[in-house]
Amino acid sequence: MSVPAPYYLGLSAVLFTLGMAGVLVRRSALIVFMSVELMLNAVNLTLVTFARLRGAVDGQVLVFFVLVVAAVEVVIGLAIIVDIFRSRDTVDVDDVDLLRG
């Protein structure tokens, strides 16, 4: 008794869209960061789903890589956010626009 693949894929699409919307509309760097994680995990879900579907382990191996990279990314990203907060007293991404042309 297993849930059919389209449900997983639909959930993944919903999660990805939520994460994307969060990246695009939220101003707090932390929320944006969490949204990115959400998108990553949506992709992970897709990978696992297809791996099960095909009966191969490649996708699941790939998920481990993504999890490790995401963990590393969290460390660096949080450090950057903390630094930004120290120098600017804010983590609003709209205030951090040094690269504006």
Binding site: L24, V32, R100, G101
Partner: protein, 647 residues
């Protein structure tokens, strides 16, 4: 003979020393260095002369090669001197007259704050001029030729804060440059014809390499003569010399009367072997000389400016010299060059003394009756004027008569007649100048000479460094005795060229060097010679008497508005140049400037603007907002997906 190199080296050292250190030293030290080096050059010239005199006449020529300057294959041009009677005679005249003018300058420029720069330029000029006359080949001569041109420019524009002086300097440089192009082409042609430009070698090879009257000889002679017309201010390139009077008066005396402007005459005598192979070119030289002589003499008649009268007079006298060498009278050309150096330098120095006394005034209409107040100056000017007019026994009489009789005996009767008429005009204009400045009471419509300066004094004093409102008096001894020395030379200089039995001293001295039989028909009896001399003297006296009648006694009234207008515009030559040469060049320059701004600059600036504008548009993409970048990435991904789905 190697010592001859010291002749130009001494003034060159003076230039270096005064140019580098002069501003730190006192005026006295600067003057001593400047005068000392030139006197030393004169002394070395005398020593070289003594060495030459000790040699037999046929062996008085020594080439001194300093080092191989240009040596590529068949084109060789060593930096070398040629020490022979001609170059030593010129070196003596240049350094002797130059030394006197240097000493005079000490007094004349005493009030000028840039005296170190002045003497540095003057020494550089002496070095260039002495190098020019001593150079052993055309290429080496060209160095001196351009050097004197540069110094002429620098010294004409010495008071460069005055726009007319700066403009006159540029004009002199550009106009002589036109002639220099011809001179340079002549050097190239000489290389092509002879394979060398060494004077001795060319003189030896002229007979075999240049067919008589052939195109090569004529072209070479005419190209070199073009250079001479520029440097020596002959028709049609004379226009720079009258304007050159913007420079300090001793400069006019040294460069624009005694030495540099005679370089063309010297060059033709130096190259006479080539000219003898080109009779047509010689005729051109003679005709240009005679035409210039009478043209400039006529122009001097209506000139109100004392220095410009002397400038036109110089042009006219240079015309005589070219007439002389044009009929093959080489040594008489050099003779007139020498005597003209004496008396014209004297006239300029006397004019400088007048200006010195009047605070820089050069307009003769504002002078008058100065003989009583400036007796020494008036005496010096009178000696120079009589020599210029050709009155016996002054040097000018002998040299001018020599050229006139040469022209006559060479069968150029028409040229002789023109030159004789010019001699009459010469007496006329110089007597008029003397009368206006020294004899007549100050002209109507202007105050006395001392009073009339008050208004203009600041201008003149500010730029010329002369004391305003100074008492009208003869100059100090440092200026007076060079004038005295030149007056003496003017009085005695005739002995150089005239003796009971021609040829004179100078002709015999130069004789071994100059090709024999230069005069095409040299038979002439003493009787005809005396008659010719009498004719010249009569014309000169007639000119002076005419001035006396018109200006002093006012017995004759000469009124011809048309003639006066034409003379006042100097036969409209300069107006013609302005319309025919300057205006088209300006128009082309304006068009080229417009093209440059519109098309060239337009393309360059337009390209830069386009890139800049593109950047300004693209920079809008860099908003600095994280979400814009993320959205762009999303759009990109969606576009890629769409592409893969529907392709």
């Amino acid at each position: 003979m190697r010592a001859a190199i010291l002749i130009p080296l001494f003034p060159l050292a003076g230039w270096v020393v005064n140019g580098l250190l002069g501003d730190r030293w006192g005026r006295r030290a600067v003057a001593w260095v400047a005068c000392g080096t030139v006197v030393a050059a004169f002394a070395v010239s005398l020593a070289v002369l003594a060495r030459l005199l000790a040699l037999p006449p046929g062996a008085r020529s020594a080439a001194v090669v300093l080092y191989e300057w240009i040596g590529t294959g068949s084109v060789r041009a060593p930096l070398g001197l040629l020490v022979d009677p001609l170059s030593v005679a010129l070196a003596l005249v240049v350094s002797g007259v130059g030394a006197l003018i240097h000493i005079y300058s000490v007094g004349y420029m005493a009030g000028d704050e840039h005296i170190a720069r002045y003497f540095a330029y003057l020494n550089l000029f002496m070095a260039s001029m002495l190098w020019l006359v001593l150079a052993g080949n055309l290429v080496a001569m060209f160095i001196g030729w351009e050097g004197v041109g540069l110094c002429s420019y620098l010294l004409i524009a010495f008071w460069f804060t005055r726009p007319p002086a700066a403009a006159a300097g540029v004009k002199a440089f550009l106009v002589t440059r036109l002639g220099d192009v011809g001179f340079l082409l002549g050097i190239f042609l000489a290389f092509a014809v002879f394979g060398t430009t060494d004077f001795t070698a060319m003189a030896r090879a002229a007979g075999s390499r240049l067919p008589l009257g052939g195109p090569a000889a004529t072209a070479l002679a005419l190209l070199l003569f073009l250079g001479a017309t520029g440097k020596s201010a002959q028709l049609p390139l004379y226009v720079w010399l009258p304007d050159a009077m913007e420079g300090p008066t001793p400069v006019s005396a040294l460069i624009h009367a005694a030495t540099m402007v005679t370089a063309g005459v010297y060059m033709i005598v130096r190259m006479h072997a080539v000219y003898l192979r080109a009779p047509l070119a010689l005729d051109v030289v003679a005709i240009v000389g005679a035409a210039t002589a009478i043209f400039a003499a006529a122009a001097a008649l209506a000139e109100p400016d004392l220095k410009r009268v002397l400038a036109y007079s110089t042009i006219s006298q240079l015309g005589y010299m070219f007439l002389g060498v044009g009929v093959g009278a080489w040594s008489d050309g050099i003779f007139h060059l020498t005597s003209h150096a004496f008396f014209k330098a004297l006239l300029f120095l006397a004019a400088g003394a007048v200006m010195h006394a009047l605070g820089g005034e050069t307009d003769m209409r504002r002078m008058g009756g100065l003989a009583g107040r400036l007796p020494a100056t008036a005496g010096a000017f009178a000696v120079g004027a009589l020599a210029l007019a050709g009155i016996w026994p002054f040097a000018g009489f002998f040299s001018k008569e020599a050229i006139l009789s040469d022209a006559f005996r060479a069968g150029r009767v028409w040229l002789w007649a023109v030159a004789l008429a010019a001699a009459g005009l010469t007496a006329l204009y110089i007597a008029r100048a003397f009368a206006l400045v020294f004899v007549l009471p100050p002209g109507e419509g202007s105050a006395g000479p001392a009073g009339c300066r008050e208004g203009d004094a600041p201008r003149a004093a500010g730029h010329r460094g002369l004391a305003p409102g100074a008492e009208v008096a003869d100059p100090p001894p440092v200026m007076r005795w060079p004038m005295g020395a030149l007056a003496l030379l003017t009085l005695l200089g005739g002995a150089l060229g005239w003796s009971a039995a021609r040829p004179g001293v100078l002709a015999r001295w130069l004789g071994p060097l100059l090709a024999p039989g230069a005069l095409r028909s040299s038979e002439g009896t003493h009787g005809s010679e005396a008659a010719l001399a009498a004719a010249g003297l009569a014309v000169a006296v007639a000119g002076i008497v005419l001035v006396w009648l018109v200006y002093v006694r006012r017995a004759l009234r000469v009124r011809s508005q048309a003639v006066q207008t034409v003379l006042a515009h100097r036969f409209y030559v300069e107006d013609f140049y302005a319309a025919a040469v300057v205006a088209p060049v300006r128009a082309v320059a304006r068009w080229a400037g417009g093209f440059d701004r519109a098309v060239i600059d337009g393309a360059v600036v337009g390209l830069a603007r386009a890139i800049g504008g593109g950047g300004a548009v693209l920079r809008r993409l860099q908003s600095g907002y994280l979400r814009h970048y993320a959205a762009l990435a999303l759009v990109g991904v969606l576009a890629l997906l769409a592409y893969w789905m529907w392709r």
